[in-house]
Amino acid sequence: MKIPRLPAIYLAWVLCLAGSLMSLYFSELRHIEPCRFCWFQRIALFPLAIQLGIFTYRSDGSAAIYGIPLCFVGFSAAVLQSLDLVFDFHALCGPGISCREGMIYFFDFIPLCWVSGAGFVVIAALLWLGRRVQPT
């Protein structure tokens, strides 16, 4: 069996899976409540984690058509959360769980919403790169 280069859609899918598992780890195992913007990011991420697996299996480059709009939704939520974090626009976050207090930081200074926003950009870029693959 010839081992081909890994398609970009597969890499995008792996990123989505990693993000989804990490999100579930924080909410279900460490019991850190997701805030409103976190939920919007999850709404965009979780379907991608399933859809992209199917698209990869089918080597279907049309994943970009369905995936990039979801990435845009997730990225927008991450940007709004970052604005809330940096400029204290807490009105955006609404009632309920605070978008600022309890924020998770990587290496003590990179907030999770920045990682999430960058993740959506990379996923969208990979989907764009993988759009030329023909269906089997």
């Binding site: 597969y10 195992l29 207090e101």
Partner: protein
Amino acid sequence: MDRKPTFIHLLVIATAVVSALLIAIGAVYEASVPLETNELRAEGRPRIGRLEAKVEMVLIEDPRCGACYYFMENIFPEIYEKYIETGRAYCIVVPVSFLEGSEPLANAILAVNKQAPEQFLAFLHAVFVHFHGRESNGWEQKEVLDVAQSVGGIDLKRLRDCILTNCYSKQLEQNFDWGKRIMGRDFGVPTLYINGMRTSIRSADAIGERIEKLEKHK
């Protein structure tokens, strides 16, 4: 068309299986964690409910935190009615003050608990309601006295003296350090522990479910 599985097909299946396994391991781990994990040693702090109750809740909150207000207004009343008032659980409240303008409020909460414990819950609720959604304006010391007056049954002179001298500053500092120690990097408010285990504050149902599970466990 060639139906033989390709490398990509196998890779996709392997990745999906690994992900499913990770989720299953997480679910098994969560289910197997003992219901009571640690002693929080929160005694000596304001308590709502009877100490004989089987289930102990420990609630950590800052009086200027919006999410704490949301919890106190939308979730806590149901918990209070179903489990605290009926003697099935009690709740230890640990006020912390790290948000702007919360120190006089947290001081007042502790002071009211000391001098008029029967008014504690009403005062706590009134503080959250009064200051919710308002920026700190430096008038908290005066306004919290107005809140105390509206609740009634509180010695306003003693309360004012306590607020002016920041009489519980040491206790508040200890509460904050204690909160940071037990939560570590995940420090946040509101946080609820039930019999020593950090619990979701998403809904009254989720909290009730945990309490009922613990009642059966005992």
